[in-house]
């Protein structure tokens, strides 16, 4: 199985170096890195790449903060914790193609009296200035796209942080309290440093999800130009333009982006585990 998957990756690499630019030709032979060079001169590729970066930044920061807030609110144990926890986590269980229907409507760009979705709530609450074009605006599209992603993933991040907090022995906290440390100080100097491995895990998980994001954007905006990311572009290149070599090159770029972050992390994890 292992051989199979890695073999397939090798195959993709080979394809990305080849000249099979549509499925009907059986062009053989290699063109070296030409496909990659071409990509970097392809304005659509750079556009998709920039979009992906914007999305990644907002998504990672937003999810991290939202998940951490949820965990902080629940962390000490509070009546109804189980209820809140399952409510925050349910988005993880639902397909984004399904949730996209709802979000498409929530982020509808009509305004004021005719508004629907989120804009209507802002309008009714006399917060009209908060209305937005969401994912239909040229500038803010990717930031708007990050909202549903944050919505879906923050419950997961909450669970990770909650597990982290609960793994810290209570004694540590109590000892600091006896010494007269304030709550804020306890969090800053005692709890957060203990959570470093959790932060690292969270960043890796969010980062790799963000790099390959596809369903979420496709479910809301389909192949629309302003919200295009690498995975969507690759899909277009393969299905609509039948350009396999170019598609394979994009796939390998996505893989490399993930690998540079994940491989050092995995080596670190496996090593620390062995030392135990």
């Amino acid at each position: 199985m292992l051989v199979f998957v890695y073999g397939m990756i090798g195959w993709t690499v080979k394809e990305s170096l080849g000249k099979k630019t549509n499925s009907y030709t059986t062009a053989k032979g290699l063109v070296g890195l030409k496909n990659y060079r071409d990509l970097f001169h392809d304005p659509e590729f750079t556009h998709a790449f920039q979009n992906l970066l914007k999305f990644t930044i907002v998504f990672m920061v937003g999810t991290l903060i939202a998940g951490l807030i949820m965990a902080l609110l629940l962390e000490k144990g509070i009546w109804g914790e189980g209820f809140f926890r399952s409510i925050y986590l349910y988005p993880m269980a639902i397909s984004f193609i399904a949730m996209g229907t709802s979000w498409r409507w929530l982020m509808d760009s009509t305004r004021d009296a005719k508004a629907t979705g989120l804009n209507k709530i802002f309008w009714d609450l006399h917060l009209g200035f908060l209305q937005s074009n969401w994912y239909s605006s040229e500038r803010g599209a990717m930031y708007a796209m990050a909202l549903p992603a944050i919505w879906q993933m923050s419950g997961y991040i909450m669970a990770l942080f909650l597990a982290g907090f609960r793994g810290i022995p209570d004694d540590l906290r109590e000892a600091a309290r006896v010494d007269g440390a304030s709550e804020t100080k306890i969090y800053r100097h005692i709890l957060f440093p203990q959570l470093k491995p959790t932060f690292l895990t969270v960043l890796i998980i969010l980062g790799h999800i963000s790099m390959k994001v596809f369903d979420l954007i496709y479910g809301i905006a389909s192949k629309s130009y302003i919200t295009k990311v690498l995975a969507i572009y690759m899909w277009q290149v393969i299905f609509d333009f039948q350009n396999f070599a170019k598609g394979a090159s994009i796939a390998i770029i996505i893989l490399v982006l993930i690998a540079v972050a994940v491989i050092p992390y995995l080596i670190y994890v496996v090593k620390t585990e062995e030392q135990k």
Binding site: Y6, I9, T12, Y88, A93, S95, F96, K120
Partner: protein, 297 residues
């Protein structure tokens, strides 16, 4: 400082909390609940929209009133939508169940080997396995379609079984390995002293202990295969004979039909129901899968 002193402090702390909260503590408690309730509203909003609008019939959905609850709740939109989706949902169930079971079985065998058997290069192989969890679907998509063509799998639902088994193995292996690592080695040693083989130990000692872990893995695989869209659309090439829940749904709600709100919301809800049911009844196992899949080690 002795531990029972700490214990007394903490128990005193709690009992005092129960009796009377200081003003500051009361403020924080209220603040917390306000925060939690606000987040609950945000989390629930999208599914609320889906549910209320699916009961408004096919034509009764006016966009500006979509937040309101249905005045005349009815199932008018459900019948036609179900008729369209029925075939795809059945097909999804068929391939999802098969791929979950196969990958769980392979995962448990692999997990056992990695947890209890140290062989040369096992760390390296395990690391490559772990990286398998992070490999994007896209990286193997093109060869996979070509392989399917070669193996005459194109046009059959087994392309999806195959793809999800391959992709599920790393995470299943990891979950099982973490679970088996907690089983005391003495148990296996005892079996070995009695002369049982590796295979027999696995069958008679390990397997009976791993039922909870199987539940975790099966739920995990079920949810991710059910919700998968990328493999489905790539490998079936969008052919209607092979449509599964997500691709059929995308076909219904796709660009040309975005105005049929009642229809779309109902279809989305129907497709979400199976995974939601699993989540509601087996949420604890779902959570465990999420956490042990996150490599905390």
């Amino acid at each position: 400082m002795s531990s029972d002193l700490l214990e007394r402090i903490s128990s005193k702390d709690i009992s005092r909390n129960k009796q009377s909260l200081t003003g500051k503590e009361q403020f924080w408690l209220v603040f917390k609940y306000v925060g939690l309730c606000f987040l609950t509203l945000v989390a629930v909003a999208p599914i609320y929209i889906m549910v209320v609008n699916s009961f408004k019939g096919i034509t009764g959905v006016s966009q500006s009133a979509a937040w309101s609850i249905p005045l005349h709740p009815n199932f008018a939109a459900w019948g036609p939508v179900w008729a369209v989706l029925r075939g795809s949902i059945g097909r999804t169930l068929f391939f999802v169940v098969q791929s979950s079971i196969i990958s769980a079985i392979i995962g448990s065998i692999n997990g056992y080997v990695f947890a209890k058997w140290r062989f040369k290069g096992s760390t390296f192989i395990f690391t490559t396995f772990l990286f398998g969890m992070f490999i994007p679907y896209q990286a193997i998509m093109i060869p996979l379609t070509e392989f399917n063509h070669f193996a005459h799998l194109t046009g059959s639902i087994y392309v999806l079984v195959f793809a999800h088994v391959i992709y599920g193995i790393p995470i299943c292996t990891l979950i099982f390995r973490n679970y088996y690592a907690a089983i005391p080695t003495e148990l296996i040693e005892a079996g070995r002293v009695d002369g049982a083989s590796m295979v027999k130990i696995f069958r008679t000692i390990i397997l009976p202990l791993s039922i909870p872990c199987f539940v975790v893995v099966l739920i995990w695989q079920f949810t991710s295969a059910w919700n998968d869209f990328l493999f489905a659309i790539f490998l079936t090439g969008g052919s209607p004979q092979l449509s599964v829940a997500t691709t059929a749904l995308n076909f219904i709600t796709g660009s040309g039909n975005q105005v049929y709100y009642g229809n779309n919301m109902t279809a989305s809800l129907i497709v979400s129901i199976p995974t939601l049911i699993v989540y509601i009844f087996l949420g604890r196992y779902f959570l465990r899968g999420l956490l042990s899949g996150s490599l905390k080690g």
